[in-house]
Subunit: 187 residues, 2 copies
């Protein structure tokens, strides 16, 4: 089971606790276009994506749609600051494909954190892993050309260009759609 495998890549958890964790994660299906977080509202769940694709994004001052992050198979997805601090979200989140996910509510997750030290540890290690990923992207954004960033992204989301519209990918990379189109045509 993908969720179980994912947890195991981070930390080994005793069978009985793992069972309880899996019980708290509720399987849900979403359709392409479904929104799960709205700007200004609190993000209620943390999701594990078994199958499908989603993104977080916001509309900037100039009315432009900016993709912040993509989430694909075996990713943990949530509005981190909104979910963990239960405050209004800066971002929206929507599915780009019909998707199968497992969701856990803030209260249920905190119950697990309270009850099991090892789950708290799992949370810490997961946060550190996410931190590393964001730091990697920051580094890429800061010191690589548009083309290098595109190739860097392809590594993390190998088939994203067949799955997400060009405009979303471009804003994720911090470039315009036109520039991305030109980069692509030269490969």
């Amino acid at each position: 089971m993908p969720l179980e495998n994912f947890i195991n890549t981070i930390i080994q958890i005793p069978e009985n606790i793992l069972l309880e964790v899996k019980e708290k994660f509720v399987k849900k299906e979403f359709s392409k276009g479904d929104k799960i977080v709205e700007q200004g509202k609190v993000c209620k769940y943390l999701y594990f994506i078994e199958k499908g694709l989603s993104r977080s994004y916001y509309i900037n001052e100039k009315g432009k749609d900016i993709t912040v992050w993509f989430f694909a198979e075996n990713d943990i997805m949530t509005g981190v600051e909104s979910f963990f601090q239960q405050k209004p979200s800066m971002y929206e989140m929507e599915f780009l494909e019909d998707s199968i996910v497992y969701q856990i509510s803030y209260d249920d997750l905190n119950e697990l954190f309270d009850k099991y030290h090892i789950i708290e540890r799992f949370g810490r290690l997961l946060a550190i892993q996410l931190l590393t990923e964001v730091a990697d992207k920051l580094n890429a954004m800061q010191f690589q050309s548009a083309k290098e960033r595109y190739l860097f992204m392809i590594k993390k989301f190998p088939n994203i260009s067949y799955r997400a519209p060009l405009g979303h990918i471009a804003s994720y990379l911090g470039i315009t759609q036109e520039t991305l189109s030109r980069i692509r045509s030269r490969i």
Copy 2:
């Protein structure tokens, strides 16, 4: 005591445990120019800065010195991936001012994580806080002009421009020293 205050801003910890935590953090003084992490070596300690300033940086393919992050009063400083996964560091770290810090070793910290659930939680919440900071900078890097980024940084490190050389600040912002000099002259 600053370290204690800092911990309290994240989570309330019982007096007796806090005492034990404080015992594990060893006070140290460093001089301007001292290196505490070298590229390719494992980062041994996590530091809390009571007074002073430091930075993490690396030398890129073209031989350019790139500042990754600054750490000032009341910041936690460490090479996150190197320290927590005990693997060779990509970065170096050095002090830019004579500094007073409290350091804790990997083993001692893990002992605390093992022993006290609440410290593990503190670690998780801290990681989430760092994650948010890095995400903020990523957002700034991606969608703001050089000038906006400079002003953004001033908020986070108010007097950095009197404390760190221009070149370090420029590479932190992802721009050249010349560009930063010009931005400054227009303010």
